[in-house]
């Protein structure tokens, strides 16, 4: 038995891979549910109903998908250039706290049409700073960005904690550590009445399309792809590696920071340390499930959001811990890697 590269890769395989991966992940999680004695179909039924059963549920799922699309894009653009940005979580929080810092007073007098774009840019800049720091350490000191971005996640959350217990603390919050809410003129407009779904979803999808075009149609897109495939060859062919990676880092960190900004301006209004239930880490799974395709990221983010939102309702109804959603999403990353492998290789006897 040996492994052999496929000479021909049918397009259908690439579309089939994520579907099979998700089904395999659901099957393994089903085994974990069955171990508790509960009915698997019943549990999955409750997940679907909880995520898509009512109008409110659907809007909640899409609201949850919004930051996931952005963190998924952040991971996807970085991974394509083999820049291992695992710091989406930290960049998310720095983006959020940057918005809280500026949004409470500085932009209070501005009209919404000006305040919102300014704050979104501020959030993106926040995330950018953190990622560029990590890349700077790699370029200057040869420090692997995987470790630095991972460690900076903890630093970032502690920094946020320090800020919301210190200078940005809301005096009206009965002592709870949370930031002063952003001014009303800066909250993102709702897409649908009587729901939490906000314009952030439109922004996220538009960015997915924009990044798709950027990667498919521009010199930068080709360079970042070349840097990922074979850095020495790309450098030999005249690709400015450092500058390309720096742009990728700005884009990736900026997207994760923007996710934090959007979550504050669209949903919460203020920052706490539990603003993100692991959006940054889920973004990595979403990027891989989408095979790093920006349009695919949108679909993968909706899948993850369905699992997370659905599992909450299922947990209340069936009594299975809602962590089953995290298990399924993490498993789908592993099964997707295997599925992707078989789009490139086949096993011959």
């Amino acid at each position: 038995m040996r492994i052999e590269q496929r000479t021909h890769r049918p397009r259908a395989l690439f579309l089939l891979a994520p579907v099979l991966a998700v089904l395999a992940a659901l099957a393994i999680s089903g085994g974990l549910i069955a171990l508790t004695g509960a009915s698997v179909l019943d549990a999955y039924g409750h997940i679907l109903a909880g995520a898509l059963g009512t109008r409110l549920a659907i809007t909640e799922t899409l609201t949850r998908a919004t930051p996931l699309i952005l963190t998924g894009l952040a991971a996807a653009v970085a991974f394509r250039a083999r820049l291992w940005n695992i710091g989406g979580e930290g960049q998310f929080f720095i983006g959020a706290i940057a918005v809280a810092a500026v949004g409470a007073e500085l932009t209070a007098g501005l009209p919404a049409a000006l305040a919102i774009p300014v704050l979104l840019v501020v959030g993106a800049l926040g995330g950018m700073v953190l990622m560029v720091t990590a890349l700077g350490l790699r370029l200057r000191f040869n420090v692997d960005e995987v470790v630095t971005t991972l460690l900076l996640n903890f630093v970032a959350i502690l920094f946020v904690s320090m800020m919301i217990e210190g200078p940005f603390k809301d005096p009206m919050a009965f002592g709870w550590p949370q930031s002063v809410p952003v001014a009303d003129n800066a909250t993102l407009p709702r897409l649908i009445e009587r729901s939490r779904l906000h314009v952030g979803l439109v922004i996220a999808i538009a960015l997915a399309v924009a990044i798709y075009l950027l990667q498919a149609r521009t010199v930068f897109g080709m360079r970042s792809k070349a840097a990922g495939f074979n850095a020495p060859a790309a450098a030999f062919a005249g690709v400015p590696l450092g500058r390309t990676l720096m742009m990728v880092a700005c884009l990736s960190g900026g997207l994760a920071g923007l996710a934090g900004a959007v979550q504050v301006l669209g949903v919460r209004g203020y920052v706490t340390t539990d603003l993100s239930p692991g959006f940054g880490y889920s973004g990595i799974v979403i990027a891989m499930l989408a095979n790093l395709n920006p349009i695919g990221v949108v679909a993968a983010a909706v899948f993850a959001a369905v699992m997370f939102i659905g599992a909450d309702g299922m947990s209340r109804a069936v009594g299975i811990p809602s962590y089953i959603a995290d298990v399924t999403v993490a498993l789908s990353l592993l099964t997707m890697l295997v599925a992707l492998f078989f789009t490139q290789y086949r096993i011959r006897r």
Binding site: D144, L150, L151, V155, M288, D326
Partner: protein, 313 residues
């Protein structure tokens, strides 16, 4: 002045050994994997699972050493999963490792919540008791420092010596290092790189599991989510800091633990004049700074993160 007195207190060095123990296990585990050429970013999740399953074993009636053994076995199983995906299939070690971390952590929380409902406060177990060592306990300063140490701490210290001996003084160690440097020449010498890598990842992951279990079975006596707090990532950084040498790994772990124990005491000595988060940040920042100093000098195993396929360069 108070800040310096802390260094002379036995309490500090007592804490240093306690904080260093899981780091020693984890760093040795990661080091073993990387010496064979496989980066194992599953460490954070494997430590979480080890912490949970070690606690659960004792909580449901098992002995303490059984708990450690179960944690090691579960670690090895996650290691097998990581190895299966990265060694014969040659998948990205970065992404697979992160997948293992996310999966192992989520599975730990899932199993934990099945046993302990959300409302209950985390149930405790009877943790490892300090070991009494007859003669050493009589020595003034040292005696007090080791008075509270438990058996796994001594196991960790012994493992450093064993790992150093195996890696650099035995044919097995030569095979492991050769696989990490150049699997093709290892194969030419009759060593099967796939087997060596798989075995090293399993053994290394078992150590990571034990490191996690120390947290719930000696350092604390209960499990709670997110208790590993990036210790796994610190271990990955320590391997680079140690330049893939077990003795230096011990030095790095103790240095880091000293830093951590010191900031905790400094925090209470300075009493709220400085935000406590700055102190909590310091260890992570110290790890990054240490990497910036050491990364250039470190001698990376040449085939680290390069998948090996027969007949392919």
């Amino acid at each position: 002045m108070d800040a310096l007195w802390i260094l002379a207190s036995t309490g500090l060095w007592d804490a240093v050994l306690r904080i260093a123990t899981p780091l020693i296990f984890g760093t040795l585990g990661a080091l073993l994997c990387e010496r064979a050429g496989v980066l194992n970013l599953g460490i954070e999740g494997i430590m979480t699972f080890g912490a949970m399953i070690g606690w659960l074993t004792v909580f449901s009636g098992g002995g303490l050493w059984t708990g450690l053994l179960v944690a090691a076995l579960c670690g090895a199983l996650f290691g097998l999963l990581h190895a299966a995906l990265t060694v014969p299939l040659g998948l990205s070690q970065h992404v697979t490792g992160l997948g293992i971390t996310l999966f192992a952590a989520a599975l730990s929380y899932y199993i934990f919540r099945l046993v302990v409902p959300l409302e209950a406060s985390p149930p405790t177990i009877e943790a490892f008791r300090p070991v009494e060592i007859p003669i050493l306990a009589e020595i003034p300063f040292l005696g007090e420092v080791i008075a509270n140490q438990t058996a796994p701490t001594y196991l960790a210290l012994a493992l450093v010596a064993v790992m150093g001996w195996v890696l650099f003084r035995t044919p097995l160690g030569l095979a492991i290092r050769m696989t990490g440097e150049n699997p093709h020449s290892a194969e030419a010498q009759g060593v099967n790189p796939l087997v060596v890598r798989t075995a090293c990842v399993m053994a290394g992951s078992a150590l990571m599991g034990v490191g996690g279990a120390f947290l719930t079975m000696s350092a604390f006596n209960s499990f709670f989510p997110t208790m590993v707090q990036g210790r796994g990532w610190i271990c990955i950084a320590l391997v680079v800091f140690a330049s893939w040498r077990p003795g230096w790994a011990l030095f790095g772990a103790v240095l880091f633990a000293t830093f951590d124990a010191y900031q905790l005491r400094l925090q209470s000595a300075l009493e709220n004049t400085v935000p406590y988060q700055l102190f909590l940040m310091a260890p992570y920042l110290a790890a990054i700074v240490a990497l910036a100093f050491m990364a250039r000098k470190a001698r990376v195993p040449q085939a680290l993160m390069r998948p090996y396929r027969r007949g392919e360069r």
